[in-house]
Protein backbone atom coordinates (compact mmCIF):
# COMPACT_ATOMS: atom_id res chain seq x y z
CA UNK A 1 0.00 0.00 0.00
CA UNK A 2 1.64 3.24 -1.09
CA UNK A 3 2.11 5.62 1.76
CA UNK A 4 1.21 9.13 0.68
CA UNK A 5 1.72 12.10 2.93
CA UNK A 6 -0.01 15.19 1.64
CA UNK A 7 1.44 17.39 4.32
CA UNK A 8 5.08 16.73 3.58
CA UNK A 9 4.27 15.63 0.03
CA UNK A 10 6.00 12.30 0.19
CA UNK A 11 5.20 8.97 -1.42
CA UNK A 12 6.67 5.64 -0.42
CA UNK A 13 6.03 2.53 -2.55
CA UNK A 14 6.98 -1.09 -2.06
CA UNK A 15 8.16 -3.11 -5.07
CA UNK A 16 8.69 -6.85 -4.72
CA UNK A 17 10.93 -8.91 -7.03
CA UNK A 18 9.38 -12.36 -7.25
CA UNK A 19 10.40 -15.48 -9.14
CA UNK A 20 11.88 -18.98 -8.85
CA UNK A 21 15.14 -19.75 -7.04
CA UNK A 22 18.30 -18.44 -8.72
CA UNK A 23 16.39 -16.52 -11.39
CA UNK A 24 18.33 -13.37 -10.53
CA UNK A 25 16.13 -11.32 -8.18
CA UNK A 26 18.94 -10.43 -5.80
CA UNK A 27 21.20 -9.77 -8.79
CA UNK A 28 18.71 -7.15 -10.00
CA UNK A 29 18.90 -5.35 -6.67
CA UNK A 30 22.66 -5.63 -6.50
CA UNK A 31 22.97 -4.07 -9.92
CA UNK A 32 20.64 -1.22 -9.00
CA UNK A 33 22.61 -0.72 -5.81
CA UNK A 34 25.90 -0.61 -7.71
CA UNK A 35 24.62 2.00 -10.16
CA UNK A 36 22.76 4.45 -7.97
CA UNK A 37 24.73 7.29 -6.37
CA UNK A 38 25.07 7.00 -2.61
CA UNK A 39 22.87 9.96 -1.77
CA UNK A 40 19.96 8.32 -3.59
CA UNK A 41 19.99 4.94 -1.89
CA UNK A 42 19.91 3.57 1.62
CA UNK A 43 21.75 0.59 3.00
CA UNK A 44 21.05 -2.66 1.19
CA UNK A 45 20.02 -5.33 3.66
CA UNK A 46 20.28 -8.99 2.67
CA UNK A 47 19.03 -11.76 4.87
CA UNK A 48 20.72 -14.70 3.19
CA UNK A 49 21.85 -18.22 4.05
CA UNK A 50 25.52 -19.09 4.34
CA UNK A 51 25.45 -20.10 0.70
CA UNK A 52 24.12 -16.71 -0.32
CA UNK A 53 20.62 -17.89 -1.09
CA UNK A 54 18.03 -15.39 0.02
CA UNK A 55 16.54 -16.59 3.28
CA UNK A 56 14.00 -13.90 4.01
CA UNK A 57 14.49 -10.92 1.73
CA UNK A 58 16.84 -8.34 0.32
CA UNK A 59 15.88 -4.75 0.90
CA UNK A 60 17.02 -1.64 -0.92
CA UNK A 61 15.49 1.82 -0.37
CA UNK A 62 15.74 4.16 -3.35
CA UNK A 63 15.10 7.86 -3.51
CA UNK A 64 13.56 8.74 -6.85
CA UNK A 65 13.46 12.45 -6.22
CA UNK A 66 10.49 14.69 -6.89
CA UNK A 67 7.70 13.41 -9.11
CA UNK A 68 4.68 15.61 -9.69
CA UNK A 69 5.75 17.58 -6.67
CA UNK A 70 6.00 14.55 -4.41
CA UNK A 71 9.28 13.35 -2.91
CA UNK A 72 9.06 9.74 -4.06
CA UNK A 73 10.77 6.79 -2.43
CA UNK A 74 10.76 3.19 -3.57
CA UNK A 75 11.53 0.27 -1.33
CA UNK A 76 12.73 -2.71 -3.33
CA UNK A 77 12.40 -6.17 -1.82
CA UNK A 78 13.20 -9.64 -3.12
CA UNK A 79 11.55 -12.82 -1.93
CA UNK A 80 13.39 -16.10 -1.40
CA UNK A 81 12.83 -18.14 -4.54
CA UNK A 82 13.20 -21.62 -3.19
CA UNK A 83 9.89 -23.49 -3.03
CA UNK A 84 10.01 -24.29 0.67
CA UNK A 85 10.32 -20.68 1.72
CA UNK A 86 6.72 -19.92 0.80
CA UNK A 87 5.80 -18.72 4.28
CA UNK A 88 8.41 -15.98 4.23
CA UNK A 89 7.57 -15.17 0.61
CA UNK A 90 4.02 -14.37 1.65
CA UNK A 91 5.26 -12.05 4.38
CA UNK A 92 7.46 -10.07 2.04
CA UNK A 93 4.64 -9.78 -0.47
CA UNK A 94 2.39 -8.13 2.10
CA UNK A 95 1.53 -4.58 1.19
CA UNK A 96 3.37 -4.66 -2.16
CA UNK A 97 2.45 -1.87 -4.55
CA UNK A 98 4.02 -3.56 -7.54
CA UNK A 99 5.68 -6.83 -8.51
CA UNK A 100 8.53 -7.66 -10.85
CA UNK A 101 8.39 -11.31 -11.80
CA UNK A 102 11.94 -12.37 -12.66
CA UNK A 103 11.75 -15.46 -14.87
CA UNK A 104 14.75 -17.67 -15.58
CA UNK A 105 15.02 -17.96 -19.36
CA UNK A 106 16.71 -21.37 -19.28
CA UNK A 107 14.72 -24.09 -21.01
CA UNK A 108 15.07 -26.44 -18.08
CA UNK A 109 13.68 -23.84 -15.69
CA UNK A 110 10.37 -23.39 -17.47
CA UNK A 111 8.42 -25.50 -15.00
CA UNK A 112 9.91 -23.63 -12.07
CA UNK A 113 8.86 -20.35 -13.67
CA UNK A 114 5.31 -21.55 -14.13
CA UNK A 115 5.15 -22.94 -10.62
CA UNK A 116 6.48 -19.72 -9.12
CA UNK A 117 4.04 -17.62 -11.14
CA UNK A 118 1.15 -19.76 -9.93
CA UNK A 119 2.46 -19.51 -6.40
CA UNK A 120 2.51 -15.73 -6.79
CA UNK A 121 -1.12 -15.71 -7.91
CA UNK A 122 -2.13 -17.83 -4.92
CA UNK A 123 -0.21 -15.67 -2.47
CA UNK A 124 -1.64 -12.46 -3.87
CA UNK A 125 -5.12 -13.91 -3.72
CA UNK A 126 -4.59 -14.93 -0.09
CA UNK A 127 -4.02 -11.30 0.76
CA UNK A 128 -7.40 -10.42 -0.64
CA UNK A 129 -5.83 -8.49 -3.49
CA UNK A 130 -7.11 -8.83 -7.04
CA UNK A 131 -4.01 -9.93 -8.96
CA UNK A 132 -5.34 -8.24 -12.09
CA UNK A 133 -5.16 -4.84 -10.45
CA UNK A 134 -1.71 -5.20 -8.91
CA UNK A 135 0.90 -3.49 -11.12
CA UNK A 136 3.27 -6.14 -12.41
CA UNK A 137 5.90 -6.61 -15.10
CA UNK A 138 7.79 -9.68 -16.33
CA UNK A 139 11.53 -9.85 -16.73
CA UNK A 140 13.06 -12.65 -18.83
CA UNK A 141 16.46 -12.88 -17.26
CA UNK A 142 19.64 -14.64 -18.43
CA UNK A 143 19.00 -13.86 -22.08
CA UNK A 144 22.77 -13.70 -22.44
CA UNK A 145 23.13 -17.49 -22.13
CA UNK A 146 23.75 -19.58 -25.28
CA UNK A 147 20.69 -19.75 -27.47
CA UNK A 148 20.36 -23.51 -27.19
CA UNK A 149 19.97 -23.29 -23.42
CA UNK A 150 17.29 -20.63 -23.25
CA UNK A 151 13.86 -19.76 -24.55
CA UNK A 152 13.47 -16.61 -26.57
CA UNK A 153 11.43 -13.69 -25.21
CA UNK A 154 8.67 -14.66 -27.63
CA UNK A 155 8.59 -18.25 -26.39
CA UNK A 156 8.59 -17.11 -22.77
CA UNK A 157 5.87 -14.62 -23.47
CA UNK A 158 3.80 -17.43 -24.94
CA UNK A 159 4.43 -19.67 -21.93
CA UNK A 160 4.13 -17.20 -19.05
CA UNK A 161 2.41 -13.99 -19.99
CA UNK A 162 -1.31 -14.80 -19.74
CA UNK A 163 -2.09 -11.31 -18.49
CA UNK A 164 -0.36 -9.49 -21.35
CA UNK A 165 1.96 -7.78 -18.94
CA UNK A 166 4.84 -5.68 -20.12
CA UNK A 167 7.96 -7.82 -20.57
CA UNK A 168 11.64 -7.00 -20.44
CA UNK A 169 14.46 -9.27 -21.68
CA UNK A 170 17.42 -8.96 -19.35
CA UNK A 171 20.91 -9.97 -18.36
CA UNK A 172 20.80 -8.76 -14.77
CA UNK A 173 24.35 -9.82 -14.00
CA UNK A 174 25.61 -7.29 -16.52
CA UNK A 175 22.81 -4.85 -15.95
CA UNK A 176 21.05 -5.34 -19.25
CA UNK A 177 17.31 -4.67 -18.85
CA UNK A 178 17.49 -4.01 -15.09
CA UNK A 179 16.91 -0.32 -15.43
CA UNK A 180 14.11 -0.78 -17.99
CA UNK A 181 12.35 -3.28 -15.76
CA UNK A 182 12.46 -0.99 -12.75
CA UNK A 183 11.27 1.92 -14.83
CA UNK A 184 8.43 -0.19 -16.18
CA UNK A 185 7.13 -1.24 -12.80
CA UNK A 186 7.66 2.22 -11.32
CA UNK A 187 5.58 3.77 -14.08
CA UNK A 188 2.79 1.24 -13.51
CA UNK A 189 2.75 1.84 -9.77
CA UNK A 190 2.79 5.61 -10.10
CA UNK A 191 0.14 5.48 -12.81
CA UNK A 192 -2.24 4.01 -10.29
CA UNK A 193 -1.53 6.89 -7.97
CA UNK A 194 -2.34 9.30 -10.77
CA UNK A 195 -5.61 7.50 -11.36
CA UNK A 196 -6.65 7.39 -7.74
CA UNK A 197 -6.61 3.63 -7.70
CA UNK A 198 -6.18 1.63 -4.53
CA UNK A 199 -2.93 2.36 -2.94
CA UNK A 200 -3.14 6.05 -2.22
CA UNK A 201 -4.01 6.85 1.31
CA UNK A 202 -4.79 10.40 2.22
CA UNK A 203 -3.22 11.49 5.44
Amino acid sequence: MSLVNFTTREITCKIVYYGPGRSGKTTNLQYVYSQVPSDRKGRMVSLATQTDRTLFFDFLPLDLGTISGFATKFQLYTVPGQVYYNATRKLVLQGADGVVFVADSQVRQLDENIESLQNLQVNILEQGVDARTLPMVLQFNKQDLPRELILSPEELDEALNFRSLRTFPADALHGVGVFETLKGVAADVLRRLSQGGMGARRV
Binding site: T8, R9, S38, D39, D63, G65, T66, A71
Partner: protein, 298 residues
Amino acid sequence: MADDVRALTAALARDPSSLAYAELAESLRRRGQRDEALRVALHGLARHPQHADGHDVLARIYSDLGDLDRAQLAWSKVLELAPEHPGALKGVAFVRFRQGDARAATEALERALAIDPDDEAAQRALETMRRDAPVADLPTAELPAAELPTPGTPVPAPDAGAGPAAQAGAARGAGVRARPPVFSGFDRATADILLLDERGLVLAGGLASPSGGDVSELAAAGLAGVSGEATRTAQHLALGGWRTIVAEAESANLVVAPVGPGALLLVRRDRSMPVGLALRFAERARGTASAWLEGQGA
Protein backbone atom coordinates in the same frame (compact mmCIF):
# COMPACT_ATOMS: atom_id res chain seq x y z
CA MET B 1 31.90 15.26 6.65
CA ALA B 2 32.36 16.65 3.17
CA ASP B 3 30.29 13.74 1.89
CA ASP B 4 27.72 14.59 4.46
CA VAL B 5 27.42 18.14 3.21
CA ARG B 6 27.40 17.03 -0.40
CA ALA B 7 24.66 14.46 0.18
CA LEU B 8 22.55 16.92 2.14
CA THR B 9 23.04 19.63 -0.45
CA ALA B 10 21.94 17.21 -3.14
CA ALA B 11 18.92 16.14 -1.11
CA LEU B 12 17.93 19.75 -0.65
CA ALA B 13 18.44 20.57 -4.30
CA ARG B 14 16.16 17.71 -5.25
CA ASP B 15 13.53 18.69 -2.79
CA PRO B 16 13.80 22.29 -1.64
CA SER B 17 10.92 21.74 0.78
CA SER B 18 12.85 19.02 2.61
CA LEU B 19 13.73 19.37 6.29
CA ALA B 20 17.28 18.31 5.39
CA TYR B 21 18.22 22.01 5.47
CA ALA B 22 18.56 21.80 9.25
CA GLU B 23 21.07 18.98 9.08
CA LEU B 24 22.94 20.71 6.30
CA ALA B 25 23.13 23.92 8.31
CA GLU B 26 24.38 21.97 11.33
CA SER B 27 27.02 20.18 9.24
CA LEU B 28 28.20 23.51 7.86
CA ARG B 29 28.26 25.00 11.35
CA ARG B 30 30.40 22.15 12.61
CA ARG B 31 32.79 22.70 9.76
CA GLY B 32 33.09 26.30 10.78
CA GLN B 33 31.28 27.63 7.70
CA ARG B 34 29.06 29.83 9.80
CA ASP B 35 27.89 32.25 7.18
CA GLU B 36 26.85 29.47 4.83
CA ALA B 37 25.20 27.68 7.73
CA LEU B 38 23.30 30.83 8.64
CA ARG B 39 22.08 31.29 5.08
CA VAL B 40 20.87 27.70 4.81
CA ALA B 41 19.12 27.84 8.18
CA LEU B 42 17.36 31.14 7.50
CA HIS B 43 16.30 29.98 4.08
CA GLY B 44 14.90 26.71 5.46
CA LEU B 45 13.12 28.46 8.30
CA ALA B 46 11.43 30.79 5.85
CA ARG B 47 9.74 27.68 4.47
CA HIS B 48 9.32 25.92 7.80
CA PRO B 49 8.76 28.59 10.42
CA GLN B 50 7.39 26.02 12.89
CA HIS B 51 10.36 23.64 12.66
CA ALA B 52 11.86 23.45 16.14
CA ASP B 53 15.06 21.69 15.11
CA GLY B 54 15.64 24.38 12.51
CA HIS B 55 15.42 27.16 15.09
CA ASP B 56 17.73 25.13 17.33
CA VAL B 57 20.39 25.00 14.62
CA LEU B 58 19.91 28.71 13.96
CA ALA B 59 20.47 29.44 17.63
CA ARG B 60 23.69 27.46 17.64
CA ILE B 61 24.93 29.33 14.61
CA TYR B 62 24.18 32.67 16.27
CA SER B 63 25.88 31.43 19.39
CA ASP B 64 28.97 30.51 17.35
CA LEU B 65 28.86 33.94 15.78
CA GLY B 66 28.82 35.45 19.25
CA ASP B 67 25.33 36.90 18.85
CA LEU B 68 23.89 35.70 22.13
CA ASP B 69 20.77 37.82 21.95
CA ARG B 70 19.70 36.33 18.67
CA ALA B 71 20.68 32.86 19.91
CA GLN B 72 18.54 33.38 22.98
CA LEU B 73 15.59 34.46 20.83
CA ALA B 74 15.91 31.45 18.57
CA TRP B 75 16.12 29.04 21.48
CA SER B 76 13.09 30.64 23.08
CA LYS B 77 11.28 30.03 19.83
CA VAL B 78 12.29 26.36 19.96
CA LEU B 79 10.91 26.05 23.46
CA GLU B 80 7.67 27.65 22.38
CA LEU B 81 7.34 25.00 19.70
CA ALA B 82 8.80 22.11 21.70
CA PRO B 83 8.89 22.89 25.42
CA GLU B 84 11.04 19.84 26.17
CA HIS B 85 13.62 20.31 23.46
CA PRO B 86 16.82 19.27 25.28
CA GLY B 87 19.10 21.07 22.89
CA ALA B 88 17.29 24.33 23.40
CA LEU B 89 17.23 23.93 27.18
CA LYS B 90 20.98 23.48 27.20
CA GLY B 91 21.28 26.35 24.80
CA VAL B 92 19.28 28.64 27.05
CA ALA B 93 21.42 27.51 29.96
CA PHE B 94 24.53 28.42 28.01
CA VAL B 95 23.26 31.87 27.10
CA ARG B 96 22.02 32.58 30.61
CA PHE B 97 25.28 31.43 32.03
CA ARG B 98 27.23 33.67 29.72
CA GLN B 99 24.95 36.51 30.71
CA GLY B 100 25.78 35.84 34.34
CA ASP B 101 22.38 34.49 35.34
CA ALA B 102 23.44 31.27 37.05
CA ARG B 103 20.04 30.65 38.52
CA ALA B 104 18.24 30.67 35.18
CA ALA B 105 21.04 28.58 33.69
CA THR B 106 20.68 26.02 36.46
CA GLU B 107 16.95 25.87 36.00
CA ALA B 108 17.26 25.23 32.30
CA LEU B 109 19.79 22.48 32.90
CA GLU B 110 17.56 20.89 35.49
CA ARG B 111 14.72 20.86 33.06
CA ALA B 112 16.97 19.26 30.46
CA LEU B 113 17.97 16.62 33.00
CA ALA B 114 14.40 16.01 34.04
CA ILE B 115 13.69 15.16 30.41
CA ASP B 116 16.83 13.10 29.84
CA PRO B 117 18.46 12.14 33.14
CA ASP B 118 21.34 10.55 31.24
CA ASP B 119 22.31 13.68 29.41
CA GLU B 120 25.93 13.68 30.45
CA ALA B 121 26.67 17.10 29.08
CA ALA B 122 23.88 18.61 31.14
CA GLN B 123 24.95 16.62 34.20
CA ARG B 124 28.53 17.80 33.96
CA ALA B 125 27.47 21.36 33.37
CA LEU B 126 25.11 21.34 36.30
CA GLU B 127 27.68 19.81 38.64
CA THR B 128 30.18 22.42 37.63
CA MET B 129 27.75 25.25 38.15
CA ARG B 130 26.62 24.04 41.52
CA ARG B 131 30.13 23.41 42.71
CA ASP B 132 31.68 26.56 41.48
CA ALA B 133 29.03 29.16 42.05
CA PRO B 134 29.22 32.15 42.30
CA VAL B 135 29.37 32.58 38.60
CA ALA B 136 32.19 35.06 38.61
CA ASP B 137 34.55 32.24 39.60
CA LEU B 138 33.83 30.28 36.48
CA PRO B 139 36.15 30.36 33.54
CA THR B 140 34.42 31.50 30.39
CA ALA B 141 36.25 29.34 27.90
CA GLU B 142 34.43 28.05 24.85
CA LEU B 143 32.77 24.70 25.18
CA PRO B 144 33.57 21.34 23.70
CA ALA B 145 30.71 20.85 21.30
CA ALA B 146 31.95 18.16 19.03
CA GLU B 147 30.20 14.90 19.85
CA LEU B 148 26.86 16.08 20.99
CA PRO B 149 23.92 16.18 18.63
CA THR B 150 22.61 19.11 20.61
CA PRO B 151 24.51 22.23 21.52
CA GLY B 152 27.70 21.52 23.30
CA THR B 153 28.13 21.54 27.00
CA PRO B 154 26.58 24.82 27.96
CA VAL B 155 29.01 25.64 30.69
CA PRO B 156 32.69 24.87 30.86
CA ALA B 157 33.48 21.24 31.43
CA PRO B 158 34.56 20.41 34.94
CA ASP B 159 38.21 19.95 35.77
CA ALA B 160 39.70 16.66 34.77
CA GLY B 161 38.85 13.88 37.18
CA ALA B 162 35.98 15.70 38.78
CA GLY B 163 34.14 12.62 39.96
CA PRO B 164 32.25 12.53 43.22
CA ALA B 165 35.46 12.26 45.21
CA ALA B 166 37.16 15.14 43.46
CA GLN B 167 33.98 17.08 43.78
CA ALA B 168 33.79 16.57 47.52
CA GLY B 169 37.38 17.72 47.78
CA ALA B 170 36.68 20.66 45.57
CA ALA B 171 34.11 22.04 47.97
CA ARG B 172 36.51 24.79 48.92
CA GLY B 173 38.35 22.27 51.13
CA ALA B 174 36.23 23.26 54.08
CA GLY B 175 33.95 20.25 54.40
CA VAL B 176 30.30 21.15 54.42
CA ARG B 177 29.63 24.67 53.28
CA ALA B 178 27.72 27.16 55.38
CA ARG B 179 23.98 26.94 54.82
CA PRO B 180 21.00 28.13 56.83
CA PRO B 181 21.29 26.51 60.29
CA VAL B 182 17.84 24.99 60.04
CA PHE B 183 18.60 21.75 61.85
CA SER B 184 20.77 23.09 64.67
CA GLY B 185 20.11 21.02 67.73
CA PHE B 186 19.77 17.84 65.67
CA ASP B 187 22.47 15.20 65.79
CA ARG B 188 24.92 15.70 62.89
CA ALA B 189 22.75 18.52 61.61
CA THR B 190 25.01 19.50 58.73
CA ALA B 191 26.42 16.09 57.89
CA ASP B 192 23.42 13.77 57.83
CA ILE B 193 20.36 15.91 57.16
CA LEU B 194 19.71 17.50 53.81
CA LEU B 195 16.83 19.65 52.67
CA LEU B 196 16.47 20.15 48.93
CA ASP B 197 13.90 21.30 46.48
CA GLU B 198 12.21 18.90 44.11
CA ARG B 199 14.49 19.95 41.29
CA GLY B 200 17.53 18.75 43.22
CA LEU B 201 18.79 22.08 44.57
CA VAL B 202 20.10 22.16 48.14
CA LEU B 203 18.09 24.35 50.55
CA ALA B 204 19.57 23.61 53.94
CA GLY B 205 21.46 21.07 56.01
CA GLY B 206 24.22 19.08 54.42
CA LEU B 207 25.57 15.67 53.67
CA ALA B 208 29.16 14.71 54.25
CA SER B 209 31.04 11.82 52.70
CA PRO B 210 32.80 9.39 55.05
CA SER B 211 35.97 11.42 54.52
CA GLY B 212 34.17 14.61 55.50
CA GLY B 213 33.74 16.16 52.05
CA ASP B 214 30.48 17.80 51.09
CA VAL B 215 28.40 15.54 48.88
CA SER B 216 25.19 17.54 49.33
CA GLU B 217 24.88 18.64 45.73
CA LEU B 218 25.47 15.20 44.34
CA ALA B 219 23.02 13.62 46.76
CA ALA B 220 20.42 16.29 46.05
CA ALA B 221 20.63 15.80 42.30
CA GLY B 222 20.12 12.05 42.66
CA LEU B 223 17.32 12.41 45.18
CA ALA B 224 15.27 14.59 42.89
CA GLY B 225 15.15 11.56 40.59
CA VAL B 226 14.07 9.31 43.44
CA SER B 227 11.28 11.69 44.34
CA GLY B 228 10.04 11.84 40.76
CA GLU B 229 10.11 8.08 40.54
CA ALA B 230 8.23 7.72 43.83
CA THR B 231 5.56 10.15 42.66
CA ARG B 232 5.12 8.30 39.41
CA THR B 233 5.01 4.93 41.15
CA ALA B 234 2.43 6.04 43.71
CA GLN B 235 0.34 7.60 40.98
CA HIS B 236 0.39 4.56 38.73
CA LEU B 237 -0.40 2.16 41.52
CA ALA B 238 -3.17 4.45 42.76
CA LEU B 239 -1.51 4.76 46.17
CA GLY B 240 -2.13 8.48 46.58
CA GLY B 241 0.70 10.74 47.68
CA TRP B 242 3.87 9.11 49.02
CA ARG B 243 5.01 9.99 52.55
CA THR B 244 8.36 8.35 53.12
CA ILE B 245 10.90 6.12 51.51
CA VAL B 246 13.15 4.17 53.81
CA ALA B 247 16.20 2.54 52.29
CA GLU B 248 18.20 0.18 54.46
CA ALA B 249 21.66 0.01 53.02
CA GLU B 250 24.86 -1.73 54.06
CA SER B 251 26.37 1.10 56.02
CA ALA B 252 23.47 3.46 56.70
CA ASN B 253 19.74 3.81 56.67
CA LEU B 254 18.27 6.58 54.57
CA VAL B 255 14.90 8.22 55.00
CA VAL B 256 13.52 10.42 52.23
CA ALA B 257 10.33 12.40 52.75
CA PRO B 258 8.53 15.22 50.97
CA VAL B 259 8.27 18.40 53.01
CA GLY B 260 5.20 20.25 51.89
CA PRO B 261 4.94 20.85 48.20
CA GLY B 262 8.22 21.21 46.40
CA ALA B 263 10.79 20.20 48.99
CA LEU B 264 12.42 16.96 50.07
CA LEU B 265 14.21 15.85 53.18
CA LEU B 266 16.98 13.25 53.36
CA VAL B 267 18.09 11.86 56.68
CA ARG B 268 20.98 9.44 56.96
CA ARG B 269 21.35 7.40 60.14
CA ASP B 270 23.82 4.79 61.16
CA ARG B 271 22.79 1.15 60.68
CA SER B 272 22.90 0.76 64.44
CA MET B 273 19.88 3.00 64.88
CA PRO B 274 16.64 1.00 64.51
CA VAL B 275 14.61 1.94 61.46
CA GLY B 276 11.67 2.99 63.63
CA LEU B 277 13.85 5.46 65.49
CA ALA B 278 15.35 6.76 62.26
CA LEU B 279 11.82 7.37 61.03
CA ARG B 280 10.94 9.33 64.17
CA PHE B 281 14.11 11.34 63.88
CA ALA B 282 13.23 12.10 60.26
CA GLU B 283 9.70 13.03 61.26
CA ARG B 284 11.06 15.59 63.73
CA ALA B 285 13.43 16.98 61.14
CA ARG B 286 10.56 17.21 58.71
CA GLY B 287 8.55 19.26 61.20
CA THR B 288 11.47 21.60 61.67
CA ALA B 289 12.09 21.91 57.95
CA SER B 290 8.45 22.50 57.27
CA ALA B 291 8.29 25.29 59.83
CA TRP B 292 11.44 26.85 58.43
CA LEU B 293 10.12 26.71 54.88
CA GLU B 294 6.92 28.39 55.98
CA GLY B 295 8.97 31.05 57.69
CA GLN B 296 10.76 31.59 54.38
CA GLY B 297 7.43 32.18 52.74
CA ALA B 298 7.87 28.99 50.71
